[in-house]
Amino acid sequence: MIEVKNLKKSFDGKEVLKGISTTYEPGKTNLIIGQSGSGKTVMLKTLLGVHEPDSGQILFDGKDFAALDPNEKRNLRTEMGMVFQGSALFDSMNVEENIGFPLKMFTNKTNAEIKDRVQEVIDRVELIDANKKMPSEISGGMQKRVAIARAIVNNPKYLFCDEPNSGLDPKTSIVIDELIQEITHEYNITTVINTHDMNSVLQIGEHIVFLKDGKLVWEGNSSEIMQTDNEDIVDFVYSSELLKEIRKFHTNK
């Protein structure tokens, strides 16, 4: 579980996060949504410890990240997995090596044990015939699967995804969303996803936090987002005529 308490962060005197409080529970896909510049990326990077908060607390199962010493922080980081927007696979390594990298770095497993575990997650994310391929030789969707496999290979307690559907076609986006949700449920991971994708919001949003100008203005789930009358949410989520029609069809609003 990740508890965020009154989180504030400024850059060059400009307040980007204005006292955000929320709780991300394990086994749920937690989404951060909002327009560009709303503070989503800063929020995710602050959760990851890339930015230090100006004030407030981020508690990982009760442990305040900012109060930990460097070694404890390092240990906590090994319990985190991250799926980057552009996958961020290491160009110089093939698929297997990319996935096994966190195990080589942080565990004392033998090469045979690493190979077994890598194959296990490759099977889990359904990567077929890609073990020896370089990242540049596989499609965007497969790169995302590799990124997910790398993020979960070390059995993380916390999984962070920055716009995991970015650059993917709608069908592959759905597959990736479903994969993240299945993994979250299966391993009881606390998953936090930063997204713009409205399909993701409606399909896998078990807990959604909507940010506007650095403030949390709405919190709920995908069923509640269909029913809400909050104008900010309605403007953001149902931005196209098609989505407005879908909402009308489902809710008569």
């Binding site: 990851l48 890339v50 460097p70 922080k73 390092r74 240990n75 980081r77 090994t78 985190m80 991250m82 980057f84 927007q85 552009g86 961020a88 696979l89 290491f90 160009d91 966190p102 080589k104 770095m105 942080f106 962070f160």
Partner: protein, 233 residues
């Protein structure tokens, strides 16, 4: 940046492989071009010297002496290092810069890995073997001079060898390798700095590589002057 390179070291099991990979890429991979350039420049230095020392009272063996001094003191340590600023420097800046642009460095940070140690330390250690490249350049440069001088009919092979042995000062070799060690350090660190701290996209990777080449060359030329002033005067 320098202090951070040595903090939170990567596991030796992995670091060892990274160091060998960098030695292969940066040092072994440079040997071909260095050998090619050294042979022909050594040959040209000898021919130019022979053509300019055409006074009959100047002994022919001075051609070998001049070729040796030019190659050992300046051509191999300094000019090969500037060429390496293009080859090694561009490789280092563009590879680290591309990792920055594609969030690979962020991925290392998020995993709790010190990216400076993981990326720059192996290059720094690989640069310790850089004097080997320059030693090879010196040998092949002199060989090029010998071949051009002897087979071009400018002087007899014995005269060239006599010139090589004439008034030999061992400290000149020490001076050349002190310079080489400093240039090796510059070649590993300046391009890494420009790659690691770059911002932007693919275009900026190219710009960073150009900047890195310019400033690595400037640093080599300035250090060359300072070291020569300190060590040879």
């Amino acid at each position: 940046m320098l202090g951070e390179i040595f903090r939170r070291p990567t596991k030796w099991r992995l670091m060892k492989n990274l160091i060998f990979k960098e030695i292969d890429e940066l040092i072994i991979g440079s040997l071909g071009i260095v050998a090619f350039l050294s042979f022909f420049i050594g040959a040209v230095v000898t021919i130019q010297t022979a053509l300019n020392l055409n006074n009959p009272i100047i002994p022919k063996y001075l051609i070998g002496f001049t070729a040796r001094q030019s190659i050992i003191l300046e051509f191999s340590p300094t000019f090969i290092s500037i060429i390496m600023a293009g080859r090694m420097g561009s490789y280092i800046t563009s590879s680290i810069g591309t990792m920055r642009v594609t969030e690979q460095i962020d991925a290392l940070e998020v995993m709790g890995i010190n990216p400076l140690n993981y990326l720059v330390f192996p290059k720094l250690i690989a640069s310790i073997t850089y004097p080997f490249v320059i030693a090879l350049s010196m040998f092949i440069g002199i060989l090029g001079g010998y071949v051009a001088g002897s087979f071009g009919g400018y002087l007899a092979p014995e005269e060239f060898i006599k010139g090589l042995q004439d008034d030999f000062t061992p400290f000149h070799i020490v001076y050349a390798f002190i310079k080489t060690a400093v240039f090796g350090f510059i070649l590993a660190t300046v391009p890494s700095f420009y790659g690691y701290y770059m911002e932007g996209g693919a275009l900026e990777v190219g710009k960073a590589s150009t900047k890195s080449f310019v400033w690595t060359s400037v640093a080599i030329i300035v250090c060359n002057y300072v070291l020569t002033q300190i060590l040879l005067t």
